[in-house]
Structures are given as C-alpha cells and as structure tokens.
Amino acid sequence: MALSLFWLVPFLPLIGALVNGIWAGKLPRKAVSAIGVGSVGLSLAIALACFGELLALPPESRRFTQGLFTWIQSGDFSAEVRFVLDPLSAVMMLVVTGVGFLIHVYSTGYMGHEKAYGRYFSYLNLFTFSMLTLVLADNFVLMFLGWEAVGLCSYLLIGFWYQRPAAAEAGKKAFVVNRIGDWGFLLGIFLIFVTFGSVDFATVFAQAPQHLAMGSAVATTIALLLFVGATGKSAQLPLYVWLPDAMEGPTPVSALIHAATMVTAGVYMVARCHILYLLSPFALSVVAIVGVLTALFAATIGLVQNDIKRVLAYSTISQLGYMFLGCGVGAFTSGIFHLMTHAFFKALLFLGAGSVIHALSGEQDLWKMGGLKARLPKTHITFLIATLAIAGVFPFAGFFSKDEILYQAWLRGGPLLWCAGVIGAFMTAFYMFRLYFLTFHGPSRVTEEAKHHLHESPSSMTVPLMFLAVLSAIGGFIQVPLLAGGQRLDHFLEPVFADAANLAPAAPAAHAVGAEVWLMLISLAVALVGIFVAYRFYVADPEVPRRLAEQARGLYRLVFNKYWVDETYDSLVVQPIYRGSVKLWQEFDAAVIDGAVNGVGRQIERGSALLRQAQVGYVQVYALILTVGAVVVIGYLALR
C-alpha cells in the first residue's frame, strides 16, 4: 500500500517548497511552519511505512521501482524519472527524512526571528526534495539532477544572509568548487553511457562485470571520474576548501546540508556504484588513500580552530574521510553505517552549537564561551552525548561505526591504513572534547552584554536535540560486532552488495575474534586518552596549550592558518584565472566583440543619414518623383 505512494516521499517537500516560495512573505509564519515542517513530516511518515513494508518482504525481493515519466528521449539515449527503493536507498531515505524533519522543527525555533522566514523554509524544502531525488534515483542522469539541485540549494542557503559579503562569497565559493567536482561526475556519466549504452543503474551494474575486465583502463577511468564528483560534493582532498566557509549559512543548514545529508552524497554514490569501484582495485585504493589523508589532514586543522562551527566543519570533513576509507577498503556497509551514525551525532553537534550560539546572541568564538553547563542544561547533556559518540566511546553510536571502519581497514587495507585511522580517532576525541570543555566548562568568558540575554533555547529546539541524542546514543546497536545475529545493517544491506561478493578483495575468511577485540580495545583506549589530554589541557591546566604553541611556533602557525591551502589555491588557480578573465574582458570582449557590434551599428547609422536626405517633407516633390518614375517605366516599356 504505502509502497505505491513512495514517489510522494520526494514530491511532498517539493510542493512545500513551491507553496512557500511562491507566497513567500505573504503567508503568516504559522502557515509557513505548518507547510514546511508538515510536508517533510508527511514524507517521513510515508518513508517509515515504506520501510516497514520493505522489511516484511523476503530479502531477495526487496527492490521496488516506480517510474513516473520519461524525462529525456533522444535516439538511443533515454532517461526516466524513476525512483528505486532498495535497502541502500531506504537507509538514505530514512536518514534524510528523519534528520531532515528534526532539523525543520528546530528551524522553527532557531529562525523564529528571521524576516525571510518563508524563503528559508522554501529553500530547506527544496533541498529535501533534491536530496531525496539524489538518493532514490534509479539512473545516473536523475541522480545528477538531484546532485546539482542539492548544490544549488547549498549555494542558496549558505548565502541566505546575502547582505553579508562573507556569506555571499562563501556561497559562491561552494558553488564554484562543487562545479569542478560535478565536471568529473558528468564526464563519468558520459563515459558510462558510451561504454554501456545506458544510464540505468540496473543495466549498468548488471553488465559491468562482463563488459569490463578487472582493472581495465575504462573501469578505472569511470571510477576515478565519479570519485572526482564525490570529492567535490563530500569535501575531500583537494576540493574540501568550500566546506569550512559554508559555515556562514544558518546553523540548522550547516547541520542538515553540511553535516548530515548533502556532503554524504559522495559516499552514497560510491556505495551505489560499488561494482564499478570493485572492478578497479586502483580506483578503490585511491578512494581509501584520499579518505584517510583527508581524515588526518582535516583533523589536524580542527585541533586549533577557535570558531565553534569551523571546528565542527573540519570534523565533518575528517569523518567523511573515514567513510571513504571504509568504502575504499571494500567495506561499503561500514561506510554507510558511519554515514548514518554520523548523520545523527553530527547533526546533533551542529544543532547543539546552534543552541549555544542562539543563547549567546550570535557569538561563535570558543574563547568567549565557557561555563555554560549550568545555564544550558539540556543543550549541555545532549551535546555531551554527541561528543562521546563522535569520540568513539562505548556504547555510543560512533564507537560501533568508527570501530567497524578501523577493523575493516586493518582486515582488508593493512596496518598502515589502520594506524592512520587510529591517529585520526585520537585527534577526533581530542578536538571534540577541547570544544566541549571550552564551551561548557571552566570559567565563563562570556561578554557582559551576551550574559544578559543568556537563556536556554525554546522547546522547539531542545526536543529535536533530545531525539537526536537518543539516536546518537543507541543508533550503533543496529550493527553490533562479534555477537551472532548482531549485524542487522549488514544483513539488511546484503542484497545490494551481494552481487559484488565475488569481486570484492578476498577478506581473510577466518573471523579472528581475538584480533577484533584487541583492535576495539585499542581504539577505545585511544579515544579515552584523547579525552584525558583534552581535559588536562583545557580544564586542569589551561597554560599547557599556550606553552606548547609557544614552543612549536612554526608548526602551530602552519596548522592554525590551515596550511595556507586557501592562499595557495588563490595564488595558483584563482588569481591566474581572474587575471586572464580581466585580460579577455578588456582586450577581447571590449575591443573585438563590442567593436564589431558597435561598428555595424555606426555603419548603418551613416548609411541612413544619406538615405534620409531623400525624405524632404514636401508632398509635391514626392508626387513629382512618382510621376517621373512612372514616365520612365512606361517609356522603357513603350520604346523597348
């Protein structure tokens, strides 16, 4: 029953976006909230019902497609608007609608004083529609539509406060950097169509193993081009630079788009195309290496940032690196598992940070917070849960998912990848608890002015925090290691990844239980050490970090300035293009093109001035000319 309605899941938010967009500024706030939140809530309800029906089916028949209409038909090429519901897209659909719904509710509180309330909800609903199209699409072209549309919504929402130059700049930057990735994605789709003659997932993935030899150049090229798209959208090296700047947008937007959903689109795409990646071991190792390098690189920057949202942004980049590490070693389920738990706790962290910022009237500097534990009790406790989850402390969600990725990295990728992952996990625990201690503990460094307005957020904001806190706390139990029958997500996703079982790099069959326990204990210990170090540095002895920064001055400045990557890109890429464009503008556009157009105009003007002389205004002159003409014509005809 509900399955036949499942096309409504993406389309309800679209209707909400249209209604709120067309009558933006005219509808009362209550109506905007009802439409904005209600459409996503209804989507969530249908999604849950669909999920229930999907679970009731036997595992091998859990694949359901629903075609709406043919979108593009041209020769051999055809692209349908058709949605597919299988375990993988079902997980994504639930994450998007579930977390999306909570963030919509939160937004009614956070954005309550905003003038452009209708515009905000219109964009947010449009984003939900786009993201659902992306994850439910059953062909590459429709997926690309969703892929571009989420990019557009991201641009619109980062630049939501477009009066602020920084926000407008950040939106532009996000859009342009994403275009570079999309270029790769689009080329990948072209190559897929040329190779397979189709863009349907089912056709392409069914043909791929016969069509492409293991490790062939075409398979590698396709996989790498698609991965270029993923690095753009999911903020991996070298295209991660837009995500920290994207924090200029409203905080719920950062939670929804730049933490929980959109930035995970790359991970979802790699998991969806797992067959293509498994056919190219080289591309797969590129994914793993880029993932682990990004995880480490972003974590180091996160250690020293002072803006609460920027720390979270670098943390997101780092966690996305973990997901790619999981996918890159061939453990796609682990990547998706971490994607899901990360959506819970990172959305919670951002919303908690938003609650803190809201309470402090817009203050984002960690050094102007402190001691907020007593004043913001609900925010504090939920934030603590999320911090424990991301640090990977048992039994919170992040422990299970991160540990699984590290275990799979050890098993299939070797000790080096594992080691890098563990170092990253240590830094994660450290910078997250640095953030936590600086915000909620220690002496208050809040400015006098902000102290006056200090208040716990309204329940429209704290209730979503609690829901997400519950999910962050228990979400990991969907996939319990070691326990027989504990790997529920594995079993649920198995039909999707089963077709590639014979392609996957042979994982050591013997399930070395002892090793898994040891690895688990090590990563737990590492997380606890990270937390302890953060406690020593920022609560017990606040002089230590300053002394360290003094001693390793060069290193500190290097990391604090984010390795000068933005500056390097600016001088190596942006400035040359800018200067070249100015040259083209002045020397080609202004001189050649404008010259040609204006020249044609001037010549016509000159010609007209000559012809105009004939029009004298005296009727009788015209009559005379007419007569002479008639005489000449008749004379010619008569005397011919």
């Binding site: 002389q613 029009q615 004298v616 205004g617 005296y618 009727v619 009788q620 009559a623 007569t627």
Partner: protein, 104 residues
C-alpha cells in the same frame, strides 16, 4: 462592333488631356483643396477611358470598374477633406508647402 459616331481615339485624346491637366494641377498648385480637385480630374480621366474601352469592346467590365473607382474616390474625398479641415484648424493654412514637418 465598331461604335457609331465619335471614334475611340477621340475619347482617348480627351482622357489623356484631362489626366495631364490633373497631373499638372497636382504638381504645381499649392492649395490642398485644388490638389484634391486635380486628383478627381485624373480619376475621371481614367473613368472616361474605362467607359470608352468598355463600349468599344462591348464588355461591361470597364463600366463596373468605374463604379468602384467612383466609390473609392468618394471615400477618399471624405477622409481627405476631414484631414484637411483638421490641418486648417490647427495651422490656419491649407498650403501644402507649409505642411512639411515629416522629413528626415
């Protein structure tokens, strides 16, 4: 059928004379009213020619055409005179030499 009495050439001569007088009137007179009358003269020269040929060939087409010419001429005069009156009211002159604002 050869008509009795006055030959066709005579009619054509009169018609040509009338047309030339009218044409000269249009080209040299300054008063718009006179120019109108001259135009009527030219039209009637053509009408005369039509009727003469019609009689000469024994066919009615020419005479029917004359009725059309006359009705069009009547309509033209009605409109033309109205314009003329309007111009005269505005500019207090009917001389075409002084109505020459529309020029390049």
């Amino acid at each position: 059928m050869q008509p009795q009495g006055i030959p066709l050439d005579a009619y054509q001569l009169v018609a040509a004379l009338l047309f030339t007088i009218g044409l000269i009137g249009v080209l040299v007179r300054r008063s718009a009213l006179i120019i109108f009358m001259s135009i009527e003269l030219m039209l009637n020269a053509v009408n005369l020619s039509f009727v003469a040929f019609s009689k000469f060939h024994g066919q009615m087409d020419g005479q029917i055409f004359v009725f059309f010419v006359m009705s069009v001429a009547a309509a033209e005069v009605a409109v033309g005179l109205a314009i003329l009156v309007a111009i005269f009211r505005n500019r207090e002159t009917a001389s075409v030499d002084e109505v020459h604002l529309l020029k390049g």
